[in-house]
Symmetry: C2
């Protein structure tokens, strides 16, 4: 039995989307980020990333984590690669070469995209107005131009990242590219990225994930 | 045939060390970081991360990359996971659960350790004196205390990260923890991390890699 820890409004969205794509039944424990609560340690506070019961699962105090038949894993992108490898099918690597490429794209997205993409999301939309900093957002957009060009080029041959089909590599990278949506100028300069992300977001499992996410308190 | 692109004084050290551990013959192309050259674009400049011939291999313009029987891969940690999976043996994942854990540790090290560990290396040792900033180094050390505690705890059971033996997970994480060596206070507070890194560095293949690295121009 698979348990996924983490609210939809977190990186757990990646795992919740993939589990639906793969048709895996799972238990969902909506652990929330401690910094989103007025007092995470108060008696009766919802389970959060500083709750003792969750720190026993993940001593890093971050979401998501999973437990799968006794195996505990953290790191959303690694969790998705694990679930895809375990359950197989078209989203999973077909061989060691595809697995290498899918692992590469996960690390590429985490190191070349994520910090800057989150700065776009936070500083153009997410942060309260006093904390929003247009300069940070603009610097992040500038830094994202090179990796967006790399991604656009990688999509040229088939419209997908690995093996000419939608895989866990697309899902992992798409969930990070999504944070940059408040910078439409990046997508206008990378039309294949724009079309690819739209195709990813048109998948029924993404739409179900998104609907559940939107129904959570902001 | 395997080709590894990148000088020893770069993240390519990870791949060069692993290839030796696995006993894989390879061709080494010592691509250097463009910012280490006075004029990377000058005629006769050594092959570097902005050389047109290398950008054809890796459009990100970063090292390392590999080419292995026609498969081109980037991202040092993903390359190591790929090489271990392909060649097997005790350093490789024995099953999908171990693969999940090894992939998790790679992403954990890239996202929870690397930026701060590099700031320790740069701002305590590597940077020229005018650019060294003790405040940046100290903030990085403070941020590394939590992940060092997680790592110390993970090593408690067997002294290794996955499967009770030295694997590609240890090698990948050790190469990032190494950057934090100029902060001995971190290792004094995490004695298992200190002993584990010493054991990693005592391996003959690490020593050979290090000797070749030291023989490169600083």
């Amino acid at each position: 039995m698979l348990t996924i820890y983490g609210v939809y409004r977190s990186r757990a969205s990646r795992n919740l989307w993939l589990a639906d794509e793969l048709g895996i039944p799972f238990k969902h424990v909506p652990v929330i980020q401690h910094y989103r609560l007025p007092d995470a340690a108060a008696p009766g506070a919802p389970i959060n990333t500083r709750s003792p019961e969750f720190l026993k699962i993940n001593p890093n105090g971050h979401i998501p984590s999973i437990e799968d038949d006794g195996l505990v894993l953290h790191e959303s992108l690694a969790i998705n690669l694990y679930l895809a490898r375990k359950h197989g099918g078209p989203l999973a690597p077909a061989d060691v070469a595809e697995d290498g490429q899918m692992t590469m794209w996960a690390l590429w997205a985490a190191t070349e995209l994520e910090t800057n993409a989150l700065n776009v999301a936070y500083h153009r939309v997410g942060n309260p107005s006093g904390i929003k900093d247009a300069k940070i957002a603009d610097a992040a957009v500038a830094a994202l131009r090179a990796p967006f060009a790399v991604l656009d080029k990688a999509l040229a041959a088939t419209g997908y990242l690995v093996g000419g089909r939608f895989t866990v590599a697309d899902l992992n990278v798409a969930e990070i590219v999504r944070y940059a949506l408040p910078a439409p100028e990046l997508f206008e300069s990378a039309p294949r990225v724009k079309a690819w992300l739209a195709a990813c977001h048109d998948r029924p499992a993404f739409k179900r994930m998104w609907e559940r996410r939107e129904s959570e308190p902001a």
